[in-house]
Symmetry: C2
């Protein structure tokens, strides 16, 4: 029988999952709506049934573990804790609940750590021991690998670069504080920056015709591709701030590479080129030329399932 | 025979060294003047002779390793690289040179990493797996331990928190950049802050009678102890900035404790109390109450030799 793990990504709206072998091949996958399950017990029941159903269709496969990426997940305890975007309140002992239904090793971490695991086991960081993955979506998530190990820290919640403060007294953040990295370096940060640049500059722009509530990173990148000056300025400003946080992270752990992932990273060279320029320009001299800024080596569509699968494969192959 | 290691701390002016057993007891120690040796070969010859002399006096001891703390030391390569405060230019293969004179394992790292090793093996972090040591002297050095391992990073130079930028466009730094952590959170940062507070406030102060070139952290702490308002304000401002960098470091690695060490830390409760207050007040909610801010568990006078000794003991007892 061929060994596989289940990789599960729990989001606020959807939960996607698949059976993944040691090489990163997804044999079968499916999904369910997280929001249909206000009670965690019902969710676990439905999810475990769905995984068993996938396995029943593939009798040649043997399930040897389950990896889960979920918001506010605590790796040490196997819990989801006080997740604002999930219906399940308080501290949810997710790993234990799943294990009661399917008796294999279960590990849980947040989606950015899972993305970093995916990068290490299946993606662009296969031979690296020190790297950082930044997921640039609505917020900024980060997964940090040092000495070949994921950094979970004393609490299990390490790697919260999105809420390190890069501008004292800066932009309001959802965490209740000000100037957090993710308020600048994320898809939503780029939208905020367009509004700021529109206030600062008088140039005409197609972005002046879009209601702020409908602005997206994708539309801004499209405008920048057409040489819209406001969009280009906003990209440059965002790249500089993104580079700023990367520079401070380099001072901490001196990684071999920083991988950029998620919606904002889709802007490609328009983002990567100025980020690389600002990192080299402003990093501490001792680290100049030592860090690669790279796109993820995993396709966006499979990343969540592969990252969760990598989390548990990494434990099993130790 | 009792096994000992040599712990060596190379400073710009003096080099101190001692023979240290597994429990942190220093059996014999000595020193020589670094500045007397503009040639590295002469330095290595003199140092190795001095160590052999110490050993000759203690025939019951057997040397099993050498640990060295030195500026700009690269742990991976055993080198000192481009150290601005040492006479030896370029890249000095220190570990190799020493090993040719005394054939035992030799490890090299910078003094802040050595301080963190000392804390882990002999000091207040004996049972900790995740902690950070900040050495608050003329500059700010940092040693970071994650999963029970020192963070050296891809380059061997990781843990440069003193040169992470906490105030974009802030104070001039010796590294050629602006707003680095150490320009605020160090003994010399405190002196700069007094000058700033003197410019901002009109209060009388004993510090107005001291030429800026003669101001020291010690004099400022003494004034604060006497309730001098300028000194108290400067302490509070420094504590807030020191806390700010600690908060960002917590977001990175979620340590169990942060140890403060060196000249500025001598201010004791006057510094620790406001630092603790500002960390709890401003840290990301998920980390509130999770981090201890502690004084070093090693006496300042032995710390350099014990830290260097801990570096090599940690390798030998692996």
């Amino acid at each position: 029988m061929k060994e596989v793990v289940a990789g599960i990504d729990i989001g606020g709206t959807n939960t996607v999952f698949g059976l993944v072998d040691k090489t990163g091949k997804i044999s079968a996958d499916s999904s369910l709506k997280t929001i249909d399950y206000p009670e965690i017990k019902d969710f676990v029941l439905s999810l475990s049934s769905a995984i068993k159903k996938l396995l029943a269709k593939k009798p040649a496969l043997k399930l040897v573990g389950i990896g889960i990426g979920a918001p506010n997940a605590n790796y040490h305890k196997g819990t989801i804790e006080l997740a604002p975007n999930l219906a399940w309140k308080g501290i949810v002992p997710l790993a234990d609940l799943i294990r009661k239904k399917i008796d294999v090793p279960v590990k849980v971490t947040n989606d950015a750590n899972a993305a970093a695991m995916g990068e290490m086991i299946f993606g662009g960081a296969k031979k690296m021991k020190d790297f950082i993955v930044l997921t640039l979506g609505t917020g900024l998530g980060s997964g940090i690998v040092i000495n070949g190990q994921m950094v979970y820290g004393h609490t299990g919640f390490a790697g919260e670069l999105g809420h390190t403060i890069i501008v004292p007294g800066g932009r309001d953040c959802g965490c209740g504080r000000h100037g957090c990295y993710e308020t600048y370096a994320s898809a939503s940060g780029l939208v905020r920056t367009v509004l700021y640049i529109l206030s600062e500059m008088r140039e005409d722009s197609i972005l002046r015709n879009i209601p702020p509530s409908e602005l997206t990173a994708k539309k801004i990148a499209a405008a920048a591709a057409k040489k819209d000056r406001i969009a280009l300025e906003a990209m440059d400003y965002t790249a500089e701030r993104l580079a700023f946080g990367i520079i401070n992270a380099i001072g901490f752990s001196s990684p071999e590479a920083v991988f950029l992932f998620g919606g904002l990273a889709q802007a490609g060279d328009m983002l990567f080129n100025p980020v690389r320029k600002y990192v080299e320009m402003n990093v501490q001299p001792i680290f100049k030329g030592t860090v690669k800024i790279l796109p993820s080596g995993i396709s966006e569509s499979n990343a969540a399932v592969l990252g969760a699968a990598a989390l548990i494969w990494n434990e099993l192959i130790k």
